[in-house]
């Protein structure tokens, strides 16, 4: 019960932050919905653990805990991929800025 309350508080704080981010247009509507659903799902799993077993049976995975691990791995890899793409983009943008600066301040002899 104690853990469930802590997790609930944690999720409420995150949902509140998400809501603020959406209000300030720092996150897209799609992103907002996906993150809200993800954190609400976590809340459901902590309060009603048997739902994972029900879903696991539905999807043909042995146990609810296994299903959570599988889904977590997929989500983590997806996030890693997104971060890596974003990093590459930022890297390319930095190079472009550095290049423009170098050409602008050329030293000729």
């Amino acid at each position: 019960m104690f853990l469930q309350i802590i997790i609930t508080l944690f999720v409420v704080i995150i949902l509140f932050k998400l809501f603020k981010q959406k209000q300030n247009n720092k996150i897209s509507l799609g992103g907002f919905i996906v993150w809200c659903l993800l954190w609400l799902a976590i809340l459901v799993v902590f309060w009603q653990p048997e739902t994972t077993s029900y879903l696991a049976n539905l999807l043909g995975v042995g146990r609810g805990a296994d299903l959570i691990v599988y889904i977590s791995i997929v989500v983590i890899f997806y996030i890693l991929f997104k971060v890596s793409v974003r990093l590459n983009k930022i890297d390319a943008e930095i190079t472009k800025l550095v290049r423009e600066d170098a050409i602008k301040h050329v030293e000729k002899r």
Partner: protein, 220 residues
């Protein structure tokens, strides 16, 4: 003809002086791209009659070459030569390297250590690393060149306009080769001499190149 020699330099205070001295006797526009060196490279370069471009932060060799290309193109370069700052190439061989482009028959010329001229290459590099690199180029890029990782190359204006180097790191070498062939440019290999002062790229660099190439295929 406007011939620009681009020299990317990162912490080359010990060797770049001789390179610039050798080039000072030749009729080329020399552009040094300092890649945020932390040593005295810039101070060594300044007394020479060359153009100096300075990266404020280190972006690696591929990025420095593209900076040089972009600048040279803006200045109306007809031919762009890529030349190393560590003295491993021979300045007088630039003439042989640019000849196929001057004749108008080719767009890109790659230097090769395997076409007759004698380079004292470390055994590991000659017999293990470069054959592996050649195989990777063949499998990943479907290209066969005698020398898969040579930094001495020449681009015509047309080629430099078409080939934008997006690989900031060492993978630019394979990228340029892939783009030259992929865009149907006329490519020639010319024998060059390479003088080894140090080992250069080893297995670690090889892995990084492969990782960058594969990642660029996935991300793009």
């Amino acid at each position: 003809m406007n011939i620009y020699v681009i020299i990317p330099a990162y912490n080359e205070e010990k060797r770049i002086w001789q390179v610039l001295k050798d080039l000072s006797f030749l009729p080329y526009q020399v552009v040094v791209v300092d890649d945020a060196s932390t040593d005295q490279t810039v101070a060594v370069v300044r007394p020479f009659p060359v153009t100096l471009l300075r990266h404020k932060i280190n972006r690696d060799q591929g990025a420095a070459l593209q900076t040089g290309n972009q600048y040279a193109l803006e200045q109306g370069a007809d031919i762009i030569v890529h030349f190393d700052a560590d003295g491993q190439f021979v300045a007088t061989e630039i003439e042989e390297m640019i000849a196929p482009i001057v004749s108008g028959h080719y767009d890109v010329v790659f230097g090769s250590r395997f076409l007759g001229k004698h380079s004292k290459m470390p055994w590991l590099k000659k017999s293990v690393i470069l054959p592996i690199a050649r195989l990777v180029n063949k499998i990943v890029l479907h290209i066969e060149l005698t020398d898969p990782q040579n930094g001495f190359r020449v681009l015509s204006r047309k080629a430099a306009q078409q080939i934008s180097i997006e690989q900031d790191g060492k993978a630019h070498c394979s990228e340029i080769i892939a783009k030259a062939f992929g865009q149907g440019l006329k490519v020639k290999e010319v024998p060059v001499t390479v003088i080894y002062h140090h080992f250069g790229q080893g297995f670690g660099d090889g892995w990084r190149i492969l990782k960058d190439l594969l990642l660029s295929k996935i991300v793009k």
